[in-house]
Symmetry: C3
């Protein structure tokens, strides 16, 4: 398989001045890499500055994947070269925080896997609608010895509550459309055949409303419903520290041996595979004792 | 159709010293106007001061409507004459804030439309039970170019979470009983035939408990689960500013042409109609462009 | 029936160094008494200090009961002898607060009644899974004239939202597995036959992950998702004050006459029975008046 990481991009389509689509088109797996940071930055800046846009839909052009984890094959210097963003946060969490505050309604249309970067973009957008049959949300990081870094601890505790957030983050398993709906992880899961029309109708509807009424109402919801940048910042530091630890290095190495970064089972069922890596760090696992 | 706005009222019935019913009886549409402010104020003051009341149920005597939007035909001077309330908030949000803090359990029994004033009273009360077939909740304001003013941004982000709150407020569409239950917008939706008996049983039960145990427990729940008055206050200012804008004036004018304030389709399916007003403020809507 | 309160205990079983089970085995009713405070304290201290444990499951060995109310037959001096805990809170809320913060994932496996102490332990743990057929959660206290004391007002408003928390606490009724799932009171309710395997699989999975990734991620979720000790403290004081009031004394006396503390209807359907104690404190209950 050839390396297709540079052939795709994040595409912005203006269906109208008021209704934009941002389509993630990074075949074959929608892995997010350093090349995509300036692309997403351009989208976010446009959403902040444009005086006509009212609704934006994030979706995917790649079968099976909404948006998945960060590119582990990228050269470290390529990822480290980006300055901190306007919020003072690192480039990736900076963009997510700005999407949450932009005076435009953002909707994630989730079909396929939303893992890592994808499961951080989704809760940062204003609403989420998922394919009942084809959506799969996942914070896989803890299963790989990592701490998630883009804001999910700060966002999920507010969005889905402490109990569900701890299960999603510490269970590190795949969450399908129905369970995501039950937990409020998505607004609703819809039959796959109805999802596109539903989201298009909602975005078109919102795009017909008055931009100032939208912006003022969203701004008033934002009060006390968004984590502060200071709450998000330590997640990135915890993520960076975790990557360097032997527990994570060993697990990621095994995942690569199993097929990480290639089309196939590991990328499509990451929750399953992190659950069978096994614990390499405890000698006493087999010796149960009772008091 | 004759103007019936002054023939109805908000009625207080003491089923017992401990169990009160507040019935909104403003036929034909349960539109809330300036004449109803002193009526509701009297109810709220009584709930605060009475030393026997433990449970109060808010319901409607009007088929098809729990309580809907404010009276757009009222003389502005009639609405502006009320002093700010005890909390320092305007009369309407003041009463809602006081219901939330009163040492008595308030239950909204929602049958028919709860729109605007109705969808602000409902989240301000302690619990909400809805008719599965006949309840319809709606924050229609953004669809009419308005910003809601009575506290729903501050209340809904806490009650139903940021994602659902943004959908309810920015989608501005009608939410039926089942969806309201899924989002936690009501505690539960029940078959219409069972709703009255369910609520009556619950209110009777609570009315048999000890008032101080109720009041102390509710006071401890209130900590950090109610928005402060300072969070609610800016919503009213944003609402007043929005009413004066051309975008709202044009939309409300069109809604009147379609039948607002009269029995008929617009009042019973407001979510649908605000979605087809169309955008009058963008010339470029038809010109999509791709980068 | 013989007094079996001292024959059972809270048992700690280390299935492995990383996966512990804490089994409440206080037949016949899993009533929690002063003798169990040091047992639970030892468990909590071990969870805090052990450097291998990653997942702990709380479950019950007693048919029909996960963990129910405090022992009303205990000598007051036996309950009062415990010093405040490390957090500065009383012994019981202190242990619950420490479980929530411990660097280990705690899971409540709820089969049978979780009432009082049990319905305070459950929300203090990180996740809750319930038997669809056999779980029953209940904050019965207000129905007995009491104010709950172990933190449920502070915890439930965050976990299940204000509307559901007020219903659970002020309705004081039994909540079955399905309703608990709808309200987010438990993460999920599962068919009883599947519950044990589901929880065991999840705990085994988490126990295979890296302890530092777990601890760091949980610590970041804890920010702003746990009530402060200062929010929890007044609940204990309100509980102690309520116990001494005539309204509570009369209701508890009647419950004892009905069979409290003995196997039988009252202990298995406490929500039902507190609802038929009736109000002894209002002479005017029968005299309805209308204005």
């Amino acid at each position: 398989m050839s390396d297709t990481r540079d052939t795709g991009k994040i595409r912005l389509l203006r269906q109208s001045g008021a209704y934009w689509r941002v389509t993630i088109d990074l075949p074959p797996l929608n892995i997010f890499g350093p090349a995509n940071i300036p692309q997403l930055e351009e989208v976010v800046s446009s959403l902040e500055k444009d005086d006509q846009v009212k609704a934006v839909v994030f979706d995917s052009a790649v079968e099976g994947f909404f948006l998945t984890h960060y590119d582990f094959l990228a050269k470290p210097e390529d990822s480290a070269k980006f300055p901190v963003g306007r919020t003072g946060l690192q480039a990736l969490p900076d963009m997510f925080a700005r999407i949450s505050r932009a005076p435009v309604v953002s909707i994630s249309l989730i079909r396929g896997r939303a893992t890592g970067v994808g499961s951080e973009l989704a809760p940062a957008s204003d609403m989420r609608f998922a394919s009942r049959e084809k959506a799969m949300l996942s914070q896989w990081e803890v299963g790989a010895g990592l701490v998630p870094g883009g804001g999910p601890m700060a966002r999920l505790r507010g969005l889905i509550g402490r109990g569900s957030a701890l299960e999603v983050l510490l269970g590190a398993d795949d969450i399908n459309g129905d369970l995501a709906e039950l937990y409020g992880y998505v607004n609703r899961s819809l039959p796959d055949a109805e999802l596109d029309a539903f989201v298009d109708r909602l975005a078109t509807r919102i795009a017909s409303f008055d931009k100032q009424a939208i912006a003022d109402t969203k701004r008033l919801v934002n009060i006390n419903s968004l984590p502060s940048d200071a709450e998000i910042a330590p997640e990135w530091d915890a993520f960076i520290a975790s990557v360097a630890r032997p527990a994570a290095q060993a697990r990621i190495r095994t995942l690569f041996e199993l097929g990480l970064h290639k089309p196939g089972d590991v990328e499509t069922r990451l929750g399953y595979d992190v659950g069978r890596l096994g614990s390499t760090d405890e000698a006493s696992a087999a010796s149960g004792s009772s008091r």
